[in-house]
Symmetry: C2
Amino acid sequence: MSEEKRPKDQLKAHIRAQNQTLILETSERVFARQGLAKTTTQMIADEAGLPKANVHYYYRSKKDLLEAVLERILRLWLDSVSEFDVEGGPKENLTRYISEKIDQSRANKNASKVFAMALMGEEHFVLDYLRNLFVTELEREKATIQVWVDKGLMAPVSTEHLFISLWAMTQTYADFDAQVKIILQKETLEDNDYDDAKQFITRMVLAGCGVVDDSL
Amino acid sequence: MSEEKRPKDQLKAHIRAQNQTLILETSERVFARQGLAKTTTQMIADEAGLPKANVHYYYRSKKDLLEAVLERILRLWLDSVSEFDVEGGPKENLTRYISEKIDQSRANKNASKVFAMALMGEEHFVLDYLRNLFVTELEREKATIQVWVDKGLMAPVSTEHLFISLWAMTQTYADFDAQVKIILQKETLEDNDYDDAKQFITRMVLAGCGVVDDSL
DNA sequence: GTCTATATGTGGATAGAC
DNA sequence: GTCTATCCACATATAGAC
């Protein structure tokens, strides 16, 4: 009997994984569009093409669902972040970092917005994440930057304020895209808009950090 | 009789103005703390020490109330913004602009957060404001910057992306203060933190815009 | 695992007495 | 202008049949 049960369990597990992914992806979209509190489980269910009770079957409460969405976002982000490489030097690393951050917030605009909303709403889940993972990561970057400073490759700047500015500038194109569109007077942002942003931010950061930019 | 009525009307008008201010100030605080959708008129009433029906007497709907709050925020902001002064040159103007923006977002943290929430939620009221007032103001700054570029006082940069970055960097200390506190590892932000922010941002912007900063 | 029907709670808004 | 009591809509969450 147990031999017969296994394929059934595999099927169930497959259905489960499939539905969970569907619900999480849909939720991220609806949360980003409607805001966290305005979003109802009914909206998510409708947009996912499922009955509401089904959503609650997989995620008991709306809070659980939001946290699952946030966890997924953070996990995917961690995977796509490339760390600073000391050997590469400040110019290459900062340029790459800015480019990757802009690309990422563009590719995952909804994820970025949900994260920003949760952060502004001071959701414990997000604050804990920042405290645990983020800060240790920042320590590493700080050490790397110190090496570059000691080598005379860049000016001694506050790593904390540098990263606060980097995140603010790169995230704003996703989180406040409505504002950006109005300022640029465009219906939708295109490749060249993001290229302009990258170029402007990179130029400012390199110059502000006293990095010799021989390409200018 | 009309002579006797006037003082009564004045009293009523006074009560009205006083209550409206109380409700608006309380709302701004609660909206900033709880988020726009999570905030209930009951919370606002409780915190203002009024019965809920009283709040609805002055502002028929929650939407009306939010818009009144936003309108008040924007009016106060407009008054405290000093325009670019062509004669002053880029260094003085950009330095002052950054300093004023940081001071303002610090002094009115709640207002700043409510505005950011409404912007991220793409509230029509805020988008319309940006389209009408903001964009014309940007045109003026753009013309000023062009003058400076022509005079060789700064490099030709994209005014749009410059302002997008300026707003992002200066607002982030108010809007995402929870994140900033974690990065700086402080319970509360103090004078020197804001001074560091001003210094870092100013340095970066001036260098990035190719403004000769003889003080460095 | 799926889904209908429903219990339970809460919020926005107002009627109507004072 | 103030405030109690209440209506109605809607959201979360679950029970229970399939």
